[in-house]
Symmetry: C2
Subunit: 426 residues, 2 copies
């Protein structure tokens, strides 16, 4: 195989063209057809548990030899049980409504033209993600359910697992009478395959990076195809002067500690100076009991009880998405100062306020410029499942196309359909 | 002024930061506030007719000295009448509904959380456009009405006109108690100013290029901020075997000749071979009478009556957006061949079918992958005004965020607002 960059670019463009051609049949498929396909893919994965686990064992062995961290090894590892969960997720996807065909708007114009704006698939969706073989199946399922062909670039550390999984999916597609080109992997081309995906303008309709901040930043910087940016969350909670202190303590602890390594976890706490003396000593103590280190400004550190876990906050702390048992904490003069801090440091994911003051809540909701704004609720609720959107592709922190949790509809676009009877424009 | 690229980048980033700060007050303004502002801007432009025309005369003089084409000079030229029209367009904008604040979706979740997805301004909108001073006002009006600050980069040939117009708008903003930073121009930095806009990631929320194919291609290639691509239209009409020939002739002529230099004008005609002998001689004759040159495949040329304007079609003709009195014409074997041709050459703007066969119309609508699909109607109807969307920002040929005619709502995004009462996630 000619693995020069030029070879990769040509090969990936050819794949994308085949994907586009294959996507046309899926675009006009019924929901029943697509759901039957998802069930068949689930069956095929389950039936291939043996070969998939064998390939995964190779990846794990290589990972251990290369000193991969226990966390990454765990995300890479498959078991019989996990394959069952992956197959079950495909069946759940089959149970969700189909966004394709929805009439978004429609009217009859004064001249008699009949106008409909209809939801249709994008065409070719590309996903670049990290060494998690479950994402291979998840991405394929989401793309197919929304009527799209998919081009996959998984992390190199999962190459053996992904190769077997994609082969299984393609065989099952063919057995069901679909083109196997609906699911293709560019992994054989390594990093160059991913780069070629980012550059396949006019051939890839949307590229969704799924993974950590570095992966997403690279894709956003290098891609010339349309990208939906997901996931970085430097989430804030502002405890207002009027907050119900007991409630604020619960919300804060839940947002920080219910699950730590996720984008909707709390990373910075801002406390109104009038409630700081009442709230902060209890908060810092409760955080210490949960194993959380507080990176505080001088006013916070002055109120921290002895024996709690504290460190002085630097500018890096205000900007950090820790994804760990760390929390930046600052005492602010008022709501304006809190809004200013959030405008400066937020990644635009989720911010929350604890308050009993209606006007404070209204100003916070109106003036915070983030995908989600919570009043007296944990930041952890920003989630497609929690919002009742069904399967989640990611949480968009950009403003174009999708903002916040993205469901299947965000992998579709619309088309204007106009019916006339020889109508001409005068 | 330090006009090095580094200077431009720094200066434009500072402008974008000031725009963002200024946009916050506009984001929470009422429709009444914004409409009053638009009326005041219209008054100010009208009052400054003298200085604007004087500046425009300088641009025109420079343009003539530099051998600018008559068409470009016409687009650059302002008159008292045209300034009146520009002001009137701002007043019409004031009459349109405000997209901001619309609740797109909303529900109360089983746990009692109250969820609303609300339409909000983008924040900072940038526009890069050609030497048409009317676009300066139009872009500012659209941005302000949708609650956004705007950064403008107009064509250098209109520098004097745009400088005076922007100064007028900024003075009027200030006189109405708004920050003048809601409308800023980067023109003082020339081409580097435009490049700096394209690179101002995190500071420019969306960049809309308005103009010809070259401008748009440059922006799409170079920008790292989110872009909405507009306008290139290689539009097709397919005349099916079952078409009402008289109707098809009317639709074809209207689509090609009603207005020539626009993105929704017809550029390629595809004719089913069974109707070619009946339709094409009449079509080519009518086109010749309208001054249109037919670039035909051999089958078309064989059916062209003597004395009509014809030339053999090349591959470039199938791909061309002529924007002139030229039309590529091809005889195709059937609907499949027409769909294949369109899939290969279309720019994804608008395609039309003339047919009386329901199944043919349904397949065409389902399988053509374009922003708009017309059945028995002229391609010229793809237009925000014709669709009843009010003011049009452009016609998007991309699939992300907006597809087809874009109204004010496409300059907004959404925000999830969640109200709880101490809700935590378990």
């Amino acid at each position: 195989m000619d693995a020069t960059p030029l070879g990769a670019e040509q090969a990936v463009q050819d794949m994308a063209r085949r994907a586009k051609a294959a996507s046309r049949s899926l675009a006009t498929a019924t929901r029943a057809d697509k759901d039957a396909l998802l069930e068949a893919l689930a069956d095929a994965l389950f039936a291939d548990t043996g070969p998939i686990l064998a390939a995964n064992a190779q990846d794990l062995q290589r990972g251990r030899a290369e000193q991969m961290s226990p966390g990454l090894l765990d995300r890479l590892a498959l078991t019989e049980d996990r394959i069952g969960q992956i197959a079950a997720a495909l069946r759940e996807l089959a149970g969700l409504p189909d966004p394709v065909g929805e009439v978004v708007r429609g009217s009859t114009l004064p001249n008699g033209l009949q106008l409909r704006q209809v939801r249709v698939p994008m065409g070719v969706v590309a996903m670049i993600y990290e060494a998690r073989p479950n994402v291979t199946v998840d991405a394929a399922g989401l793309a197919l359910k929304s009527g799209n062909a998919v081009l996959l670039r998984g992390g190199s550390a999962a190459l053996s697992s992904n190769t077997v999984i994609v082969a299984t999916l393609r065989r099952a597609l063919e057995a069901q009478g679909w083109s196997p080109d609906l699911v293709q992997s560019v992994d054989a081309w390594g990093r160059e395959g991913g780069v070629a995906l980012m550059r396949a303008r006019g051939l890839v309709d949307v590229l969704v990076p799924r993974g950590g901040a570095n992966l997403i930043a690279t894709v956003v910087r290098e891609a010339v195809v349309p990208v939906i940016e997901t996931g970085v969350g430097n989430c804030h909670l502002y405890v207002d002067a009027s907050a119900d202190v007991a409630q604020a303590l619960e919300v804060m602890l839940n947002a920080k500690t219910q699950r730590v390594g996720v984008c909707n976890a709390l990373e910075t706490l801002l406390v109104h100076k009038e409630v700081a003396r009442d709230f902060l000593p209890r908060a810092v103590l409760a955080l210490a009991e949960a194993g959380v280190t507080v990176h505080g400004d001088p006013a916070t550190l002055a109120l921290a009880p002895p024996g709690t876990l504290t460190a002085p906050a630097t500018d890096e702390d205000w900007a950090a998405e820790y994804l760990s048992l760390d929390l930046a904490v600052r005492v602010v003069a008022d709501l304006d100062a809190a809004l200013e801090h959030i405008a400066t440091y937020s990644s635009g994911h989720t911010e929350a306020i604890c308050t009993t003051d209606l006007r404070a809540s209204q100003r916070f909701v109106a003036e915070v410029d983030s995908a989600a704004v919570m009043v007296n609720a944990s930041t952890r609720f920003t989630d497609g499942g929690q919002f009742g959107l069904g399967a989640e592709i990611g949480i968009s922190t950009q403003k174009l196309h999708a903002r916040g949790p993205m469901g299947l509809a965000e992998l579709t676009t619309t088309k204007w359909v106009v019916h006339g009877d020889g109508h001409v424009r005068s």
